[in-house]
Symmetry: C2
C-alpha cells in the first residue's frame, strides 16, 4: 500500500545544473508562471528547479528526484554545496504571488539546501512536467534576475565549482564521452576564467592518468584532425589514482 508522502513546508532543495556547450558554461533554468499574474506582460520569470523535501526522503533523494523529473536523468554528478537560510529570502512580489498559488502557508520560512549538478547537456531531454512547462540553458553571463535568492545560490555554486575542479576530477562530467584535448582545455579555462599554457596543460593531463587517448581521431574537420580522449572513470572512482589535485597555474604549492 503506498501512501502519498507529504511535504515538509520548511525545507526545500534547489539544483544548480551546469552544462557546457559552444564553449560556454550554462545553467539549466525553469520558467515559472505567476498564477495571479501581476500584469499581462510580466507573468513569468526564471528560477532554479527545486521543491520542498518530502517527509519520507533525505536531502540527496529530494535533489535527485527534482533532477530526474526535470531531465529524465539519474546517476549523474549531484553534490550538496550549501544551505541558504536567510529570514528575508522571500521579498519579491512575484515570488510571493507564485507561493500563494502553490503553498498552503506562503509565509512559512523555508531553508533551502542547494545542490550542484554537472551534466553533458547533449544528453538532456527536458521533460515538461510539474516543475515547469519550459526550461532553458542560459550562459552564466546572461542569467537574468531569478526568483527568491536564486542568483546568490547560482553564484555560490559557481564559486564552489571553481574550487572543486581544482581538487577533484569532476569537470569531465560536463563533456561528452569522447573529447579532444582542446575541448578539455577550453572547459577548464572557461570554469577558471583564465588562460592556461597549452603544452603544460597537455603534459600534466596525460601524466595524471585521469584520461586515456583513443586510437580514433576527429572526422570531417577542415583542419588537422585532433585525437579523442576518454575520462578514466573507473580508475578514478575506485581510488586507483589516490588524491588527485587539479591546481591552477600560478598558485602556491605547499607539499609537491
Amino acid at each position: 500500500m503506498s501512501v502519498s508522502p507529504s511535504l515538509n513546508p520548511h525545507v526545500s532543495v534547489d539544483c544548480v545544473i551546469f552544462g557546457f556547450s559552444k564553449e560556454t558554461l550554462r545553467l539549466l533554468l525553469i520558467k515559472r508562471t505567476v498564477p495571479n499574474s501581476l500584469t499581462e506582460l510580466d507573468d513569468s520569470y526564471y528560477a532554479l528547479p527545486g521543491d520542498l523535501v518530502r517527509d519520507n526522503e533525505n536531502l540527496d533523494e529530494a535533489a535527485a528526484r527534482v533532477l530526474k523529473e526535470l531531465t529524465g536523468l539519474s546517476g549523474i554528478f549531484l553534490q550538496q554545496f550549501q544551505a541558504f537560510g536567510d529570514p528575508m529570502r522571500i521579498t519579491k512580489a512575484k515570488d510571493r504571488a507564485w507561493l500563494q498559488g502553490v503553498r498552503q502557508d506562503p509565509d512559512a520560512r523555508v531553508i533551502t539546501v542547494a545542490y550542484m549538478a554537472l551534466i553533458d547537456s547533449n544528453k538532456v531531454q527536458i521533460e515538461p512536467g510539474s516543475f515547469s512547462k519550459e526550461a532553458v540553458w542560459l550562459p552564466i553571463s546572461e542569467v537574468p534576475e531569478l526568483g527568491f535568492d536564486h542568483n546568490d545560490i547560482s553564484e555560490g555554486a559557481l564559486m564552489a565549482l571553481r574550487e572543486k575542479v581544482q581538487i577533484q576530477p569532476i569537470a569531465f562530467e560536463l563533456l561528452p564521452e569522447k573529447f579532444t584535448m582542446s575541448d578539455l582545455q577550453t572547459l577548464y579555462e572557461t570554469i577558471l576564467e583564465r588562460d592556461l599554457d597549452k603544452r603544460n596543460f597537455r603534459r600534466k593531463m596525460l601524466n595524471s592518468g585521469v584520461i586515456t587517448a583513443l586510437p580514433e581521431k576527429q572526422h570531417g574537420v577542415s583542419n588537422k584532425p585532433a585525437r579523442y580522449y576518454v575520462f578514466n572513470r573507473n580508475l578514478v572512482e575506485n581510488g586507483g589514482l589516490g588524491f588527485v589535485n587539479l591546481k591552477m597555474e600560478g598558485s602556491f604549492t605547499m607539499f609537491s
Copy 2:
C-alpha cells in the same frame, strides 16, 4: 522594544569545534542530561553543541550564537560544511527522552546545518550555560557514541577539514599566535594523518609567504631553542597571496 524571538522547530545548527593541544586534534563536546532519566547510572551522553534556528536570524548567525554562548568567543573561524536531513536522524532512546524534555513537538523532523569551527583551545573558557553544565575537549580518536547523528556529522567535518587545509590556509586558526615550525608541521601531519618531509615542509612554508619568522626564540627549553613564527593573517585575508594551495605530498598536480 525587543520581542523574544521564537524558534523554528524544523531547522537547527550544530557546531563541530576543533582544537589542537598536546599534539592531538580534539573536539569540544557537551554533556547532555536526559530529563526523564532511563536509568540512574545512564542519564547523560555527549553531543555536539547546537540549537534550533531562531526566526529572526540566518544560519551563520545561529551558529555564531551557539559558539559564543558556549565558549565566549566571537569572530573566529566558523564555516558551514554540510546539511544533514535524513528522516531517521532521531532513533535512539536517549535522544527521544532528551527531546521530550526540551521540545514542544519532539517528533518533528529536524534538518540540521553543520558548521566547522577552528579555535586555539588555549583561548577557550567554557561557559556553563543553557547548552550544558559541562563541556569537554576529547581527542578525535576517543569520541564516544554521540547523540542523534552527531558521529556522522563529526566524521563529515573531519573529511571537510582535510580537504580544506589543502586549499585554504586555515590550519593556523588552531595554533597560538606564536608557533614553531615543528608545531606547524605536527599540526599538518595530525590533520592529514601522514608524515611530511621536514626540509620540504619548511622550505615550502617559508616560500609561501603565509608565515613570517620572528626574531624571538623559545625560552627555557632543554634542547636547542626553536624560532617562533606568526601567520600573516592580514596578507592572506586581503588576497595579497592570491590563491594559496596547501597540497599533500605525493598527490597529483595538474597546473603547477
